[in-house]
């Protein structure tokens, strides 16, 4: 979700602003702060801070990420959720992953091909429809007097995480996605 080097404002800023608005509607203060701060950081990263590069590859080099992933797996997969322990891990994790994702380059050297653009359009359309469906369920669910009439993805997934195997499976998939994003992003 980026409109190339011609426009300095990433479409991610708009996506985060919309999500923050939804969090305000939900009355979720922490999530609102996360999405507002995240959107501002992305905005700054493509404008004022665009020329600031960080040696992120040093942190993701070798087996550093493998070890970090193993520690996180044991810390999060088999321990109770919603604890101060988890809170501490996530507070420590955020600056680390931001540092690792920042990287030493802000834009690609090669421009998108016609096939790349078509693929980006197809997946963006899919993601936008999915977000609109989720946002609609969230809004209608809060307006409805009937509980669970319009379930969101969170409401559908959370009961699975109440099972030990479900929580472990979620943590494994979540860590694999993060691992891929950091490894592929820093190439």
């Amino acid at each position: 979700m980026q409109n190339g080097s011609r426009h300095p404002v990433s479409l991610w800023v708009a996506a985060f602003a919309l999500t923050a608005a939804l969090q305000i509607f939900r009355g979720a203060l922490e999530d609102t702060i996360i999405f507002v701060a995240g959107g501002l950081l992305i905005l700054l990263s493509t404008n004022v801070l665009a020329k600031i590069n960080l040696p992120s590859a040093k942190l993701t080099a070798g087996s550093n990420l493998d070890w970090a992933g193993m520690i996180l797996l044991f810390a999060l997969a088999f321990t109770p959720r919603h604890t101060f322990f988890n809170l501490g891990i996530f507070v420590l994790l955020l600056p680390l992953v931001l540092f690792m994702a920042w990287g030493a380059h802000s834009e690609p050297v090669r421009q998108l091909t016609k096939r790349d653009r078509a693929t980006r359009f197809a997946w963006s359309a899919w993601a936008i429809v999915m977000c609109l469906w989720e946002f609609s369920a969230n809004i209608l669910g809060q307006l409805s007097k009937v509980p669970d009439a319009f379930p969101t993805i969170s409401v559908l997934v959370d009961p699975i995480l109440k099972l030990e195997l479900g929580q472990a499976g979620f943590v494994v998939v979540w860590l694999l996605v993060g691992y891929y994003l950091l490894k592929a992003g820093i190439k």
């Binding site: 979700m1 980026q2 990433s10 991610w12 800023v13 985060f16 939900r26 999530d31 996360i34 999405f35 995240g38 950081l41 992305i42 990263s45 493509t46 665009a50 999060l76 959720r81 919603h82 988890n86 809170l87 996530f90 994790l93 955020l94 992953v97 931001l98 690792m100 994702a101 380059h105 802000s106 834009e107 690609p108 998108l112 091909t113 096939r115 790349d116 693929t119 997946w123 899919w126 999915m130 469906w133 369920a137 409805s144 669970d148 009439a149 319009f150 379930p151 993805i153 969170s154 559908l156 997934v157 959370d158 943590v171 979540w174 996605v177 993060g178 994003l181 592929a184 992003g185 190439k187």
Partner: protein, 71 residues
């Protein structure tokens, strides 16, 4: 049909469409579309995309493992 079933059905249809899109392009042999991994490989070269995805990823973990989901 209840609104619950329609909502869940919508998610399942979208998941199925995403799977079909991924499956038909996975070998990167499709004439008009590249594979999802190739697209990510290119898009992750944008700092804005890297930050957007990693913050959203972090939030997903936060949402399910730290926050309590409101029903």
């Amino acid at each position: 049909m209840s609104t619950h079933a329609i909502t869940v059905g919508g998610y399942l249809v979208l998941l199925a469409l995403g799977f079909v899109l991924w499956f038909t392009t996975r070998t990167d042999a499709h004439p008009r579309l590249t594979s999802l991994s190739k697209m990510f490989e290119h898009l992750l070269r944008y700092r804005g995309t890297r930050l957007g995805l990693i913050i959203f990823w972090w939030w997903l973990g936060w949402h399910f493992l730290v926050n309590v989901v409101q029903y």
